[in-house]
Symmetry: C2
Subunit: 347 residues, 2 copies
């Protein structure tokens, strides 16, 4: 009997971190095969133990893979979806880790056959360093991981991806793709541009060297995202331009409000800082919680993952996905995750 | 023979961290007295061992203190300079830790008598948490600490402050006060406003709760400074408004450049991210270094500190500062620090 197989396409920071987490699970009944167009990165991922085997081609990587994790920037992911079509196993579950979700869902609908399930996903974690050398088994621990299934993905496929996420210690957040992109633009994509703007502002000034002596942890933190992978940043901005432009406009509004407060002085200025501090401290100390139901009548995704991955994942998967006319409704899943019909997760 | 005495005015994050570093030195021949208008903070600093004794009044704190460290926000520091005048010991050395330096030097010149030495200073380190509970003996380790002596401070006084800085593991940077304020606005004060703007932008949006689920380490890092002490932020902006306004204008220029790049797409967009990444990585991995001379002919400030602090600091200090008509030229010192006549520190 063949063991289940997971393929990781792209063994950079994210793909290798996922591989490390999956490879470390005791009694695992799956093999991990990896591929990266950067052969050095693939070799390093293998050396680190993040993958069991290096694939020589996309065909080899995808052969018999029940779960395919595409961990490359958006435009490269688009190409992989196209190229993968002839090689995908029937019933395969495909997920990705791209920072924007609407485009990739559109591409999946356009390119992939009905015989596979696409479940988009996005871990809200990262580092300014890239490549497998920066990978960390705990990269996703405690992080939110957005899940955006394609409308035609079946419930078992979504559960497998939820299980993957929970196996890596992250917290799945079921969310509509366009909603994801709108909010990710605010909390993740515009911050990248702010880091870039701040760094360029200081670097391009006449006093760069003097200023750089004075730069402390604040400057380092605020410019951290400017060290992110340029291709990833470019793809993020290209595939989410409208939302990013919207929030950049809102940011400029806020900067104008702040300038007015600077001109006005107290009490406006102190109120501005004090109210922001209060809300930010509240956000950090008591972050909003999604209620995840537990108990026997609502098995968690981790349970599902355990049952499927460790009880002959691939064979069961075949059973499930080959069953004709199965119900692809995900309402059940939404209820399990404690989200309402609008995809809102807290209560 | 009376032991030397150091007074710490303000036992919040910075004052308590300084106290912890000074108190931990073996064979120290000085006592540390502390005061804070927040009695709880003073008591906590004492409990933590950052100060040897709590003072009941400013008079009591300053009595016989050879070195006075004012570690409060700028407007409170102004008041303390005024209130301290009747109680300052002859020859006392006064330093501060305010984030802006031109105003405090102006106030020192206005209020303080000729019999004392004011040496402004500013550690480029901090945390978003405030109060003595957030203090850390290693807070300043490896950080730049700007030094802006008043024109009438004598060389010994400057050396004592340099010694204090090196004793705490920080790296002194001799810099002109207005130059400091200009560059600190770029690398430290505008970043505070960016953090505030980003946090308010997201918090005030309709989708705040949904967005906050997606907020990961990028958002947390970029908004960290929005959790800083509001009074300190208010004082920074009030006492450095022109420079802050200048850099805010420059930031808006950069954001406009980025928006154009977003509209234009590649190759402009990739170039923008790639060139910024390269320069930022270079800055982080090879930060600009000031050359500090060493060898017997150029004693380091730490040597001076050792000789003075640990060989009867206070008595020697008295000798020095009471000598009439002493040379207050600091050229010697500048040479020792490897800075040229314009206060430029690298070579």
């Amino acid at each position: 009997m063949a063991r289940a197989r997971i393929a990781i396409i792209g063994t950079g920071l994210i793909g290798t971190s996922i591989g490390l987490g999956l490879a470390a699970r005791k009694d695992r009944e799956y093999d991990i095969v990896g591929i990266d167009k950067n052969r050095g990165h693939m070799r390093e991922a293998k050396k680190l133990g993040a993958i069991d085997r290096e694939a020589g081609s996309l065909e080899e990587a995808l052969k018999d893979a029940g779960l395919v994790v595409i961990a490359v920037p958006a435009m490269a992911a688009r190409q992989i979806l196209q190229d993968a079509v002839p090689y995908l196993a029937e019933g395969a579950i495909i997920t990705d880790t791209c920072s924007t979700k609407a485009d990739i869902l559109r591409w999946a609908a356009e390119f992939l056959p009905d015989t596979v399930n696409f479940v988009g996903s996005h871990p809200m974690a990262g580092r300014e360093l890239s490549g497998p050398g920066a990978a960390n088994i705990d990269l996703f621990r405690g992080a939110t991981w957005a899940v955006t299934p394609s409308p035609r993905a079946d419930e078992q496929a979504v559960n497998i991806v939820l299980g993957l996420i929970e196996a890596l210690g992250a917290i799945p957040l079921y969310i509509d793709a366009s909603e994801h992109d709108t909010y990710a633009a605010a909390v993740s994509h515009v911050p990248i541009l702010m880091s870039v703007a701040l760094f360029r502002m200081v670097r391009d000034s006449h006093g760069w060297e003097d200023a750089s002596f004075l730069a402390g942890s604040g400057f380092r933190d605020l410019t951290r995202l400017a060290s992110g992978d340029p291709t990833m940043s470019r793809d993020i901005m290209s595939s989410n331009r409208d939302a990013v432009m919207h929030w950049l406009g809102r940011l400029e509004d806020e900067l104008r409000t702040i300038k007015r407060a600077l001109e006005e002085g107290d009490p406006v200025l102190t109120d501005l800082f004090a109210s922001t501090q209060l809300d930010r401290d509240t956000f950090i100390m008591n972050p909003p919680q999604r209620r995840v139901p537990d108990g026997p009548e609502a098995p968690t995704a981790a349970d599902t993952m355990r049952r499927m991955f460790f009880g002959g994942f691939y064979d069961r998967l075949k059973d499930v996905t080959n069953k004709p006319g199965m119900d692809r409704n995900t309402d059940d899943l939404k209820r399990k995750l404690g989200v309402d019909e609008n995809g809102n997760g807290r209560s």
